[in-house]
Symmetry: D2
Subunit: 455 residues, 4 copies
């Protein structure tokens, strides 16, 4: 996952602070690194770094970036090395024109496209999909000289998920792939500045107003000629990632017209109907289970308690590597409120289970705090297949639900009862059907064969 943001000022205002605050509000989508590129029409000024937005950008850096159009990116922490070279936007230092790209998503066939380009002599300096897209785009631009046609051509070649913001000379361009895997919306403020943001919460922070979502397969270009919209021909039907609603997006965002907060609450209610439970209290696994837990509690009339308190200052503790201290890592983050747990039947609500190891540890904490019974209800269906569209997930083997039965999972996690939301319940809770449910159904909206061909 990642977060992207773009800004264009018709009034000629500097946009860098807007992008800075926009990325700030999108920080939950990626904490590994951040970058901003702005253009004053002549040059692109950019800055990238590892860490939180507030750590990467000092006042001095922000003041040194000047331009009326620009884009930004927050990068999600993935496994493997962390290098500033992989931070975005990816910038092309070119005499053909200024180009910068920020990308949210995952291109399934990027390794194949990359190999082809390398055979033609192209040189890559990072391992990002953005660089592959940039190379393809420049190639098309050389052929056609037209950015929109070039994007259309590139979209025919790349398979996968891509919400993009592109800075090309004086234009800001937004692209959402034909499946609409990742969210992307457009907004404006009172001063006639236009914004593109991964989520609407990025607009709120700068007093912007949500105009509408970018449609799947839509290309929007904003420049001195105004705002124009184009459509990528391919029209496979929308498949927006259900996990944006369940876990990833901020609750105050509205995605494709649907409030994330309301979805989470509804998921709790649907879960309560599908998987009711007897107990003395309903408690979330903080923070992601909070809203569903409230819905669950409300539906069943069982009181809502916060049985686990999260330490807000965890940040970057180092844990010294003895056995004893590995358990400590969990205790540093979550502390049980013993007086409300002791002797009680606790119903825990979590948004999802991936490997099961964290759930197991949390249940253990609650049991040690004196719970009579511990029940677990999960606000999404069993995850049985990995995501190929940009959600960081373990291999199929590591997904506990891919091989274990419900009863086996229950025993592993050590709860008295376990219940998942059904796929139908999930659809009902979200309130739309054009979702990507690949991780819970195994049915991928796109061809995924290239994931197995060579790597």
């Amino acid at each position: 996952m990642c977060g992207i943001f773009g800004a264009y000022s018709f009034s000629g205002e500097d946009v860098v602070k807007k992008i800075y605050y926009g990325l700030y509000a999108l920080q939950h989508r990626g904490q590994e690194g951040a970058g901003i590129a702005v253009s004053n029409g002549k040059n692109i000024y950019s800055y990238k770094g590892l860490g939180l937005v507030s750590e990467v950008f000092s006042k001095e850096v922000i003041n040194s970036l000047r331009g009326q159009v620009g884009i930004g990116h927050v990068r999600y922490s993935t496994t493997g090395g962390t290098f500033v070279e992989n931070c975005q936007p990816f910038i092309v230092n070119s005499t053909l024109g200024n180009l910068a790209i920020a990308h949210n998503g995952d291109i399934l066939n990027s390794h194949i496209l990359r190999e082809e380009l390398e055979k033609q002599g192209h040189i890559f300096t990072s391992s990002t999909d953005s660089e592959v897209i940039a190379h393809l785009l420049v190639k098309e631009l050389l052929r056609t000289g037209d950015i929109i046609r070039s994007i259309e051509e590139v979209s025919k070649k790349i398979v996968g998920a891509y919400s993009l913001v592109i800075l090309y000379n004086n234009s800001l361009i937004a692209v959402r792939d034909p499946y609409g895997f990742k969210p992307l919306c457009i907004g404006k403020d009172e001063k006639d500045n236009y914004y593109i943001s991964s989520e609407s919460c990025g607009l709120d922070v700068i007093n912007g107003e949500l105009i509408r979502d970018v449609s799947p397969g839509e290309i929007i270009i904003i420049n001195r000629n105004g705002i124009e919209t184009y459509r990528i021909e391919e029209n496979p039907g929308g498949s927006t990632c259900m996990f944006e609603y369940v876990y990833f997006a901020r609750p105050d965002s509205i995605i494709d017209g649907i409030s994330v907060y309301n979805v989470r609450r509804r998921l709790g209610k649907v879960l309560a109907k599908e998987e009711p439970c007897e107990g003395d209290l309903v408690s979330p696994v903080p923070d992601s289970g909070v809203t569903s837990a409230i819905g669950y509690s409300e539906e069943l009339g069982i009181p809502y308690y916060e049985a686990l308190i999260k330490n807000r200052y965890v940040g970057r503790t180092f844990i010294l590597p003895s056995q004893e201290e590995r358990d400590l890592a969990v205790r540093l983050k979550l502390n049980p409120v013993k007086p409300i747990i002791e002797g009680k039947r606790v119903i825990l609500i979590d948004d999802s289970i991936v490997r099961g190891t964290t759930s197991k540890r949390i249940v253990n904490i609650v049991r040690k705090a004196g719970a009579k019974e511990v029940h677990l209800r999960v606000g999404s269906p069993r995850i049985i297949s990995p995501c190929y569209y940009g959600i960081d997930m373990p291999t199929k083997e590591e997904l506990i639900a891919s091989s274990k039965s419900l009863e086996e999972i229950r025993r592993y996690i050590n709860v008295d009862s376990l219940g998942y939301l059904s796929v139908q319940g999930l659809i009902r809770g979200i309130g739309r059907e054009d979702l990507c449910l690949a991780c819970v159904t195994g049915r991928y909206p796109t061809d995924v064969s290239c994931k197995f061909c060579c790597k």
Copy 2:
């Protein structure tokens, strides 16, 4: 406010990591600075710095501090300059023996004591009360040669709030003032390590077990002879700060036998009985109003919603100083969830109102998000008098409730209705009467005349 922690290992284990993690769990009591001092029987090793515990202490620093007994401190951010010189523990570099002191509280007559000491030739290098206590203690030690008698003598001279951990040669000493203003408890773990902590959450994190609270007026000394307890003669009756329960302590802590979480929930229920309200939803002002809001919602049967989402990554943003961006500072921290606010009668629950300015801004955010009505209910009584015992509060003039009537406050904050908890309701909610209620009643448990004599 501050947090203090002490550790003594009968088994000869190094205690520095225990103190580090203990301070970590007490981080909410002070984020300005942190310090640790440990003794290996011969020398005191110490390290202090400005910032969070995780920022001050690197792995290398932690590994360089070795000792079987030690103390630590987290410092609260107060107005005025921030200097590492004011960080604690305060350490005496002495040939008479090793001494280090960490203090939570406020000594009312410290300026008078300090002046007397200066007249006798004592030299001060910081402006902390801890240094005054250290000087008095050393003076008594020179006279009596006995640490317990010295503490007793010092306690006769100092007026105010003090929970102390003292490292003296090979002994760990805990002191709680006769009023018991600030919490302090003792715990142990399976390996026969003993701990002193401001709050029980500091014990949980290191797998320690709460033995009991240190009583008001109690001195506990732990050394190779075992654990002994002494009592400061003065016995004015307990006056524990009610704000520890209402706002300051972590909800998973147990203070003087009472669960903070349970108190907060009860306060919400009592508030609901005393100040009921008609509305469509109950929402906390996060994070401090959450638990009371749940209690309030439950009591009245009005659904609980999180109408305001807190950005978890706010940290150290710089805000560029234009007018527009001052409002932005609030929006960066709190974002309203419009879909659940629009057209609704919102009942906001906050733990307390000090100046009223923040409340006013938050209400404005909720109104702008489309609320039909905004009502505010406050989980503590009107604050009318400043605290002289260590809670950072503005002057009497700045306390909105000290001069304004309920109706005037309501108009200022711009809510449709406003209700505070009563003093009796507060006592009932907390479940004990031996509380310091000075800030809500104006009746101070100690003489406070020296606060007005000379400064």
Copy 3:
């Protein structure tokens, strides 16, 4: 200017520390940034950063770079922005094979080559010549599959100065352009490790032995097959930069068989013969004038004194920007020794004059310290033309000697007499004729028309 270093271990030793120390010894060739890339046969590991070698590389970084072959680079501080993106080695992240390049020199036609490549769809991420060379090299590699042939082809296309170290899969390759503008030598140590270094001082530090200089137009490849040498066909005759001897190289280096220290001393002697002067003492402008001043003093039998003392700790002082303090910047660096200057006729020896502004300030300091007369003798001829081969120089207009007569310069600098070394004297002092003297004669060894065509 820049410094480059390469290492290859036949015994399979890790070479990163060798490169680190080698760069350390080459630090005088560039202080802006440093980088190292090593290969273990499978992957390239690299690290770059801004600052001195000792600042860029921590122990942890050095220990994380593992490989039996590698290259390194120190970057010279040029005008304009300082970005880590421009640090070298330039690394190609490619499935075709591992490639890293470090470059010392300047390619005159790189902007033309770059434009051509961009028209073919190549994308550039930095503004360095190294990236242009990398692109050309990869293109040829794709065509020929042979690294030596590819280098030969690329050398036909690029015009200018280039000493290169290249890491290609498991091979270390050294290239010196047919003119031999920049120095480059090869050495080995007792453990059968081979090294390439800009200067021989880089070999000394790691106990290496200088084997010989890389010849102009020579390509040396070191890999498991041993060491092979190739020759670029073009043979224009050597034109080694005279400034390496005069100023740039470290005095303990030997370049193309000639000791830099001996050259500088001889230049002082030749200068004394060509431009003798009456005076009470000879003093260098430290540090670069020291050795010539000793030679000058010796030749004329006038005592050698250090009339100006350099502050060894200047580093990164900030100078607050008032007028008074601009003068201070010079005083911070150089302090006159008044007792030896007062009432004396001082003969100052400097290695060269570029703009004349620094000389003017230094003369002013010496006059203020009470000198009766100040004479200046310069250990190189008048600089009248800019360098296009990588020495950072101002434009022709800013070169004081390009437009002003000797007498005008004397008056501007405010000395009683002024004397430069002649071009013939320079050649005699260095002891070789195959030198690039473009900056003092205006005659460039290569075509330089592309410098004027388009930029």
Copy 4:
């Protein structure tokens, strides 16, 4: 060793920048830490830190320190721990008045005085002599109310070396002990600002003029009443440290009216007369032997060469701890110029020999570079006794000349011949007799018995 600096502005100018630049010029006297304290008449503002002056003080810090009178300190790196607590000025946070002290020297009986003070209840927070002096001073101030009388009384109690700058309320006070061990001078600038500096080079940098040296036993007080001078009664006769001239002070300083540069050159000439040597070249051990080597060369008519080149960028390299790399540490710093050494009889000039280990390593480097013979001449007598007055020296046992004969030292260092300057030659070279020669004669000017009594 340490450096101290003071500034007083009669015109009401802010002095902090003057102190900053003054410390900058005194940086050679201490690189471990730095501190500045200024007073605006009401409050003392101070800042201290570990590292070079340019590292400790940022622009922001300098701008935040405001006052018309102030003092500063650079701290020498001594063995043992490095703590910011030991940095100076030592500041007393007192209601009796503002007091800050910076000290250069060593108080022999400070441990005894400290113990007495501790018995009286005084508390120490550092292990510095400055704190002991501050305590004694405050004690006397309480008794007498007069700062000059207090200093006089304190001077009767302390035995040892002390040049002090004291900031007391609005006064700047300079004190030099009755022996005048350490240098201290007074200067002024055109704007009627007065300065106290360890060396005159501190005045030069800020365009100040040296008025005169502070006399041994003199107290100078500068405040709104003007400048007054007092004399400590005790008058043992001056004993200024000879090492200031030989090694420690900057060559451009004038100490007690004598130019350090001229002394060093004369020492070379006297050494040449006392210990002539046949050889092909004279070379200094850089940097401290340079000036004496020039004098030596001139006297004997043997050419002066720089056979060893110092790497100017050594700074803070880490050396990885294998055997091979310990030798590397020397090679990183000093590189021989082989072409001028090979086959030659090299006469090395060093300023002094302490342990002999470094000399041995350097001689080894010169031999390996091919010298036919290596001779060593030393610009000071044999060091046979430790310094108790503040020069960092090893114990008597570690001083090579305390137990070994000349011939034994020669063999250990492995030179063909070895010659030291005589004590009489040293006196002649410096040109004054009122010197402390304790380290070369074993005769200490003060009682030193307390160094052996208890520690």
